[in-house]
């Protein structure tokens, strides 16, 4: 029996050591770097320990504060609409009808394509001179065309729209998984008792899929915090930092300007917020739900 478990531990070893080497140790190092002054281009300066200096600077950095608000708005708005549209898509995909496979495939396409492609697509559609969005709104009246990516509010709106288009189907899949475990008899019982379709949704379907919706909320929120690709391609953080989301700001500090220590303080803050949210959600959903899957 002991030899059997030893064999299993041996099987676990390669996968777990890769996870430790490329995920856990780097996370730890990010914490370490955030307490040091590290500049990529100037190795001769060494890596002086500076205590909380990076965090103090970050707290007084107006760009960082703005970036935080931008990210919070982005996360809130996209998650809300993705869950709403996701619920709608899931209810459609759950129905039995001849074209169901085709509908599912069509809905999955935005999720399957690279985010960079989706970003270029929206950049093209929102062009100020020949974008289709402008054509659909204003027809051939090119004088009233709006440069969507050049105004702070509409630029943020553009990356929000692009994200909703890209990931609503992912939320839909998670909610669909919840719908599929509802036994059809329950709905039929509701039908026999004379409940209308809204009543059946409100009192039968909704309570049963709420855990799945919570899981979708958890995954979507945490993932939305990592938004990078869309902002990088669509707006590069502009105009006037209106779309300078946290991961993009951290990337610029670390890899464009070379402030490894300061950038690490940003990434530790992103990490802490994601962790905080995860803990809050997991408490709300109940650990049992996640563990029930194990």
């Amino acid at each position: 029996m002991i030899r059997k478990n030893q064999f299993f531990l041996l099987l676990l070893l390669p996968a777990l050591s890769l996870l430790v080497l490329f995920i856990l140790i780097p996370v730890g190092q990010s914490f370490y770097l955030s307490f040091h002054r590290v500049i990529s281009g100037l190795p001769q300066l060494g890596e002086a320990m500076v205590g909380f200096e990076n965090y103090r600077d970050l707290f007084h950095d107006p760009v960082a504060r703005h970036s935080l608000w931008t990210t919070v708005i982005f996360v809130g708005v996209t998650t809300f609409f993705e869950l709403l549209i996701g619920l709608f898509l899931a209810l459609l995909m759950h129905r039995h009808f001849p074209g169901r496979g085709a509908l599912r495939a069509a809905v999955l396409i935005p999720w399957a394509i690279p985010t960079v492609v989706a970003a270029q697509m929206w950049r093209f559609l929102m062009n100020d001179a020949y974008g289709t969005v402008n054509y659909l709104l204003f027809g051939t009246e090119t004088a009233s065309y709006v440069p969507w990516l050049a105004y702070p509010a509409t630029a943020l709106g553009a990356i929000i729209l692009a994200d909703i288009w890209k990931t609503a189907s992912f939320a839909a899949l998670l909610i669909l998984a919840g719908l599929q475990v509802i036994p059809p008899e329950i709905n039929q019982a509701g039908l026999v008792d004379g409940a209308g379709s809204w009543q059946r949704f409100r009192h039968i379907t909704w309570p049963l899929i709420r855990p799945a919706v919570m899981v979708a909320l958890l995954f979507r929120t945490i993932d939305a915090f990592r938004v990078f690709d869309l902002a990088y391609v669509l707006t590069q953080g502009g105009p006037a930092d209106a779309t300078n989301v946290l991961q993009l700001y951290g990337y610029k500090k670390m890899f464009v300007e070379g402030w490894m220590g300061y950038g690490s303080a940003i990434s530790v803050c992103i990490f802490t917020m994601a962790l905080f949210l995860a803990v809050v959600y997991v408490r709300a959903v109940g650990r049992r739900l996640l563990e029930a899957r194990v």
Binding site: P114, Q120, I270
Partner: protein, 275 residues
Amino acid sequence: MIPRFLRKGLFLTGVILAVGFSLSPFLFFVLSAFKTENQITAIPPVWLPDFSFVSFQSAVFKHHLFHYLLNSLIVGGTATLVSLSLGALAGYALARLPRRYARFILMGVLACAMFPQITIAGPIWRFLRAVGWLNQYHGLILPYVALTLPLCIWILALFFREIPEELESAALVDGCTRPGVLIRIILPLSTPGLFTAGILTFIYSWNEFFLALLIMTDPARQTMPVGIALFQGEHSIPWGEIAAASLITTLPLIILVLFFQRRIVDGLSAGAIKG
């Protein structure tokens, strides 16, 4: 009660809206690949292109599209194979270890998938630079394997658990070794699970942009997403070429979705981790 035909009509409208919302912007964009430069920027838009292949030619010959494609294939293919192999070993162990240990490790593995990429990017970049692996295929493949392993381990562990242990005991009594059991009994029975995990891993590695941007700064080693994001023209944005490259990048993904739509749906809901 709403009459039957009205409800059918509502449902049909919903389906049309969903399909239109998902497909029409994308179709319109990739059709630009077949348009001439004048048609792309025309107002009113040209809905049906001339089927000109100028953009494809330019993307292939002037922008070295096939270099990027080859890099993506090498990185995506290798990452998928390695992640599946390691994930299968770990998943089998977790399916057969006592539940409480397995549960503890599985939750830890899930947590690894939740870290924002930026939290690991700086240290990984410094490590790769120190060992000289920046702009090397394995420098990108290894982080991809680490990032996709949680999904593979979850899908495969849950799949292997469904295979009755009696099958294994019987084989062991007959003199089969434990590694033999894994290779001759468990893996052949698990092809659906391996397929699902493999598809999701491949889609992730094929589409990943953030780490590829950091690690591959040499254009000769860049993958398709980096190429598409950094596309540069001489005077104006080369939309035709970008659309052509986008179409070629997404074609394998569209084929995967069309053929394996059911597996993807099942796999995502089982692991519930974004691929």
